[in-house]
């Protein structure tokens, strides 16, 4: 019998205690915000969309190798010795980066690509609203070269190499001249810029 009344008392009392807690919260200001109108302030280390500063990229492929998903695709063409390419810190660039695409549809925002970069040209920004209707639109191409320029770089290189080969052939008179110039090292297909 005592148990019976204790149960009633416990039920009534604990319910009232709970109601007190929720009633207090009626007057506590909300912790949520109206999202697209009000935006949260993001901390400086925020890890969202990647950005590549192509002026500094030396095409070393380290980020592509660090990526666990293999979504970074870099293609390069050797620069001619006459062309003077420099990063913003004055480091010499030996390659033209003809193609630098990142497939953000697959990116897992792990930041592993950021750390190995020798020139700190790839980094994560605080841009987080970049949804698209088509999955292809999430493949971002960071290369600053136009297709014509890429074509030109390639032909430049092949011409240069052919010339070099010729020179070599001329130098070594005894040896038979090479029949053809070396084909360009980089693949010819390029992705359309988005």
């Amino acid at each position: 019998m005592r148990e019976y009344f204790k149960n009633i008392w416990a039920a009534v009392f604990t319910v009232l205690v709970g109601m007190k807690v929720t009633f207090k919260h009626l007057f506590v200001p909300a912790v949520t915000i109206q999202y697209p109108d009000v935006k949260p302030k993001l901390p400086e280390r925020e890890r969202n969309r990647l950005y590549v500063n192509m002026d500094d990229c030396i095409g070393c492929d380290q980020c592509a190798r660090a990526c666990p998903l293999g979504i970074i695709n870099i293609e390069t063409v050797k620069a001619l010795p006459t062309e003077d390419l420099k990063t913003s810190q004055g480091r010499k660039k030996a390659l033209w980066v003809t193609n630098f695409t990142i497939d953000f549809a697959k990116c897992c925002y792990c930041q592993l690509c950021v750390f190995p970069c020798p020139t700190e040209c790839i980094y994560m920004t605080d841009v987080y609203e970049f949804s698209e209707y088509e999955r292809e639109n999430l493949i971002y191409n960071f290369s600053t070269l136009t297709p014509e320029e890429i074509e030109q770089k390639k032909t430049n290189l092949s011409l240069f190499e052919a010339e070099k080969a010729k020179e070599k052939a001329a130098k070594s008179a005894a040896a038979p001249a090479p029949a053809k110039p070396v084909p360009p090292a980089a693949p010819t297909e390029t992705k359309k810029e988005n």
């Binding site: 009633i8 319910v15 709970g18 109601m19 929720t22 009633f23 909300a30 949520t32 109206q34």
Partner: protein, 357 residues
């Protein structure tokens, strides 16, 4: 009264009757249900440190209207294995049961849908009718979750009718009437004449009665909570176990009918509690209409007081919902048969003895 008005206006009994019966639906039930849904959202949001709907209208007050518009447009999905006639009938039946209960509710002294002498009895009877609709919905859905929900619901609503009726008997025993209008009129004057404070008759018995009336009120409030399937007694539609219980398979407007019926029902039971214990439409502090000598103001004031009291109890229902967890089905039965019914019975006897003094 209103019937006479419309009869004179149109000169046709049929039109007058139709208009009178539709009046509460459009003037009160639908707007109230829409408002209650909005209120529930806002209350829950603020209790949980959120904002709730904020975009459609000022603080989202049009959100429910937008929802209803969306639900009307939605596809009405009927699975092939459903029992179609029953499946289509069930939401209508549930809504009708709720709607019929409003007929006997005295909103003001001037308007009462049907001034039945068996008012309370009628409301209890037609509210019980909702069970049939829920059982139909559960069975016709041909879904195991729905069936479990419907079975639970039937057991629950029928069990909790008993303490409700017992408490009603207590009141009827004191006042000697089943007519809600008469009941409200009895509790006229100031708030100390309300039944919760022992009724209009002064004397020793009044003060003796107060604690027992409070207990009676607690019992009827808890059991009506169970009858309208609100937390902590919402096991028929227990979201975390039975997905949505008996209305799992419903979509579009049929779902909306269940939804509106639930909120309308919330008001219906609050109205009973108000009429029985809190003076019905009577003002607690006297009428401005009488003070100013404007008799037409009195019914409006009465409507205000009635709605305000009803809304307060609806608010408490929401408050409880966002505070408490849910009982298990056997504990629900324990709460009813082992706690509420014996206490209600003892209460009935004690109050009966007190009235004899």
């Amino acid at each position: 009264m209103t019937y006479d008005f419309f009869y004179k206006l149109f000169g046709s009994q049929v039109i007058a009757a139709i208009i009178q019966s539709l009046l509460p639906l459009f003037v009160f039930i639908l707007p109230f249900a829409l408002f209650a849904v909005w209120l529930e959202r806002k209350v829950s949001a603020h209790m949980q440190d959120r904002l709730g709907p904020m975009r459609v209208g000022w603080h989202g007050w049009l959100q429910t209207v937008a929802d209803i518009l969306k639900l009307i447009q939605k596809e009405d999905i009927i699975a092939t294995a459903n029992d179609k006639p029953l499946f289509n009938l069930a939401p209508v039946l549930v809504f009708v049961g709720t709607y019929a209960a409003f007929a006997a509710i005295p909103f003001t002294s001037a308007f009462i849908g049907s001034n039945l002498d068996l008012g309370v009895f009628f409301i209890v009877a037609v509210s019980g009718f909702v069970v049939a609709g829920i059982l139909m919905a559960g069975w016709a859905s041909n879904n195991k979750y729905s069936l479990l929900g419907a079975m639970r619901s039937a057991a629950q609503i029928i069990s909790y009718e008993i303490p409700t009726v017992m408490v009603i008997i207590t009141i009827v025993m004191i006042t000697g009437t089943l007519n809600l209008n008469t009941l409200s009129q009895l509790q006229t004057g100031h708030f100390w004449n309300w039944m919760i404070f022992g009724g209009p008759v002064f004397g020793v018995s009044k003060f003796l009665m107060i604690p027992f009336m409070i207990i009676s009120f607690g019992i009827i409030y808890i059991s009506t909570l169970a009858e309208v399937n609100r937390t902590p007694f919402d096991i028929p539609e227990a979201e975390s176990e039975l997905v949505s219980g008996y209305h799992t398979e419903y979509s579009g407007m049929k779902f909306a009918m269940f939804f509106l019926a639930e909120y309308a029902n919330m008001f219906a039971v609050s109205a009973i509690v108000t009429a029985l214990f809190f003076g019905g439409y009577q003002s607690p502090i006297g009428y401005i209409g009488h003070l100013l000598g404007l008799p037409w103001l009195v019914p409006i004031e009465q409507l205000f007081w009635f709605t305000a009291k009803g809304l307060f109890f609806v608010f408490v229902q929401m408050w409880l919902r966002w505070t408490l967890p849910r009982l298990r089905v056997d504990q629900l039965m324990t709460a009813c048969w082992k706690y509420l019914i014996p206490i209600a019975f003892a209460d009935l006897i004690i109050i009966g003895l007190i009235t004899l003094i």
